[in-house]
Subunit: 203 residues, 2 copies
């Protein structure tokens, strides 16, 4: 089956976003990450920063989150919580992006949202904590929390969000078509593997 | 890090054993599967058929299983259940095989037993139920149970055994270095991916 859409789910700091960008470049197809966030933000009327922070995180259910919601929310949101409203918009945006043509989509539970598209290849990227800790400090700098705390918090938020909206277990191999440990295999090699799978499927 | 040992864990019917054999052939290194079972059997004094049936399955704890145990068992087994005794022997055999040199080891929880060897590449192979059902009927023929029942039973026994002896979750991506869906990627391509990873690590 020819594969045209690539979804990349990733542990924080594993290099999944970098692999996504490199795969898109190698194949000459669009790469959706921040662009996707912006599009979701525009469609929802939420502030882009709010979407970026909440799009893959736990459904909070807190009243506070409504403070960031667009004007006229009660009507638009149709009784949904902010998180559920955002989830619905994310699903629609991702389904539309995939319909537009070949692309790479990083994060946002796209593996689940596009699970019924036989032309989608679902990739999961992970690595052990020391590898990711070194990488996030190098790329994003230090913060008041230890790198291990930052990884644990972000991983937990992604895991809870994924479980809540998909009913699946985050990181379970059967949810994806291929899972890659970047700490062992390296980002370049993981990129090559994914690019080759796509090219082979199109021959 | 140069990789010399390949462990392959697999869902029943996914083609993991075939990939293991092909990888071993391509690299010109030994392949341990039934041979491993035989060696375990010889060392333990258990009948090969008993080892084959119980080596990856649930720890039964049933008294019945002692009927298959070697003579003089109470002394040899040192108070362990048959399953625990077999597990200890499996661990020793697998550690010794890896010490002997490059090889492919299929099943027997070798990913966990060799988790501390940095020269080991741990591969998990899986596929969806329809792909595996078609495959087991084609390879092993029909039986009184449906293919789906056979898959569910065998998967469950492997999962319970793995969980019991390793404390890990069967099929969780983080237990392995790479996970491959043979139904999507095909056995030939999965073989090539693993062979290339090993070759690249040795350059």
């Amino acid at each position: 089956m020819e594969k045209k859409i690539i979804t990349i789910s990733r542990e924080f700091g594993s290099g999944g976003r970098t692999i996504g960008r490199k795969v898109a470049e190698a194949l000459g197809i669009p790469f959706y990450d921040k662009e996707l966030v912006d599009q979701i933000a525009m469609e929802s009327g939420f502030a882009p920063k709010f979407v970026e922070e909440h799009g893959e995180h736990s459904p909070s259910g807190s009243l506070f989150s409504y403070a960031f919601a667009p004007q006229g929310v009660p009507g638009i949101m149709n009784g949904l919580s902010t998180a559920d409203f955002l989830w619905n918009i994310q699903c629609n945006v991702i389904l539309q992006l995939a319909d537009k043509g070949p692309c790479v989509i990083v994060g946002r539970n796209a593996d689940y949202i596009l699970k019924d598209r036989p032309d989608a290849l679902h990739v999961y990227v992970f690595a052990d904590t020391p590898y990711r800790a070194e990488r996030i400090v190098r790329l994003y700098g230090d913060s008041e929390k230890t790198p291990e705390q930052r990884l644990a918090e972000k991983d937990k938020r992604r895991r809870v969000n994924y479980q809540h909206y998909t009913g699946r277990t985050w990181g379970q191999a059967q949810n994806y078509d291929i899972c890659l440990d970047t700490g062992v295999l390296g980002i370049e090699q993981c990129t090559d593997i994914v690019v080759n799978i796509i090219k082979n499927s199109q021959e």
